[in-house]
């Protein structure tokens, strides 16, 4: 593993190693406090994403390393027209590893072609966001104690929501996975995700527009935000944004040990009254993101 651009570049075994390492970091943080001493992580965020950037920076700091970088394109030389290739070639001579967020899809792949240091894709437009998927997999593993044999509901914007595409793809490799795809007709999971990952792995899946109907069957409910920036048309956004809101009322029909996940930030798709419900795992999920990023940084830097 030289870079991480797409979650599907990792084998199930490599993902398991990262999960095991993240769990070890959670249990024995003191062992890892100086593992990246004198190492530098550059966070190149060509579009703002405070949560993801802080998660990467906290991860590097907890490993004893340092961070440098920029948090939006206006404060970088890309605003002067510098290419991704040049930016990465220069920054790679200062830093030991780069986490990069870019609004254009495929920008991190360009970066890998011009970088001697590992590149982590921290999100490229609506395309990939592999550390989010690693976070999700770690969370499911911690909450359920396994990744096999789970019935997972994916709810909300399944068309534009890249986190659900990657999660559906990643979960398709685990035996006994069953996917329940809950979305309005306009925001269904694209057929290429089904044809490329779900069907070839013989994963059972059902599609529905009704969350209430399937609530009681789910082991995990993964909620997503209907994102304004993924729509070309404001009218469509306003019409669909409130389609699926999770409330305490709806949660009454869920299993006592169902896990509610969300990549965050949420707008109103999960009512805040659920935050205190022990089944609500989304804040634990955010915290897990830091640990899996620590594990990933260690692996990519080859630090034992």
């Amino acid at each position: 593993m030289k870079h991480l651009i797409d979650i599907m570049e990792l084998s199930v075994e490599e993902i398991q190693e990262l999960i095991a390492l993240a769990e070890d970091i959670m249990n024995f943080p003191e062992k890892y406090r100086e593992k990246c001493k004198y190492k530098k992580l550059a966070t190149l965020f060509f579009e703002p994403s405070t949560r993801t950037r802080l998660s990467f920076e906290a991860a590097m700091m907890e490993l004893g390393g340092n961070v440098l970088g920029f948090s939006d394109a206006n404060s970088s030389s890309s605003s002067k027209g510098e290419s991704v290739a040049d930016t990465v070639a220069v920054v790679g001579s200062y830093a030991d590893i780069i986490a990069m967020r870019h609004p254009k899809e495929g920008a991190p792949t360009v970066a890998t072609m011009h970088s001697d240091v590992p590149i982590i894709n921290a999100g490229d437009g609506g395309h990939n966001h592999p550390t989010q998927t690693l976070t999700d997999l770690l969370t499911i593993s911690l909450e359920k104690g396994k990744l096999n044999g789970l019935k997972i509901g994916l709810c909300g914007d399944l068309k534009f929501g890249r986190t659900v595409h990657s999660l559906a793809a990643a979960m398709s490799r685990y035996e006994g996975t069953e996917l329940v795809l809950i979305s309005p007709d306009e925001l269904k999971l694209p057929s290429y995700v089904k044809n490329s990952y779900i069907k070839p792995n013989n994963i059972k899946y059902t599609q529905t527009t009704n969350l209430d109907e399937v609530m009681g069957e789910l082991d995990v409910l993964y909620m997503t935000r209907v994102q304004r920036e993924r729509f070309f048309n404001e009218e469509d956004y306003l019409r669909l944004k409130d389609s699926y809101i999770l409330t305490a009322e709806k949660m009454r029909n869920a299993k006592a040990d169902m896990t509610v996940m969300h990549p965050l930030p949420r707008v109103n798709e999960i009512s805040t009254e659920i935050d205190k419900d022990k089944r609500a795992a989304y804040f634990r999920q955010a915290r897990n993101g830091k640990y899996i990023r620590m594990a990933l940084i260690l692996k990519l830097l080859g630090v034992e």
């Binding site: 290419s83 290739a85 254009k104 495929g106 490229d124 437009g125």
Partner: protein, 138 residues
Amino acid sequence: MTIDSIVNGIVIDHIAQGKAMEIYSYLSLDKIDSQVAIIKNAPSKKIGKKDIIKIDGEFALNLDIIGFIDPESTVNIIRDGKLVEKKKLQLPEKLTDVLKCKNPRCITTTEQDIKHIFLLKNSEKREYRCLYCESRAE
């Protein structure tokens, strides 16, 4: 209809009917000085009717382009009036600077000096996807 035979050059034969102009355009044959003949709707025992392109003289041919447009066509290299090589084509695994990505969110729309690369993902469906953003080639 007679067209002079070539002494040194290339004959692209067994092109599916109607595909010759597409190949002509992708290979930018309008920009070369050599004589080029396009024969459309020539009789063919194998495929009924076919197109043929004859290029007089040396020319650095991008076989990937022809393979992408019509993998069933054949490329014959002629030297001193004799057929010296017959190239069988296939769908190329990788296309470099042949197609452009149509996804407005793709990095290829803004990054300078970038190679436009497409990879073959499904040969039955002849499906190519952009190396960078994975959008399907149209």
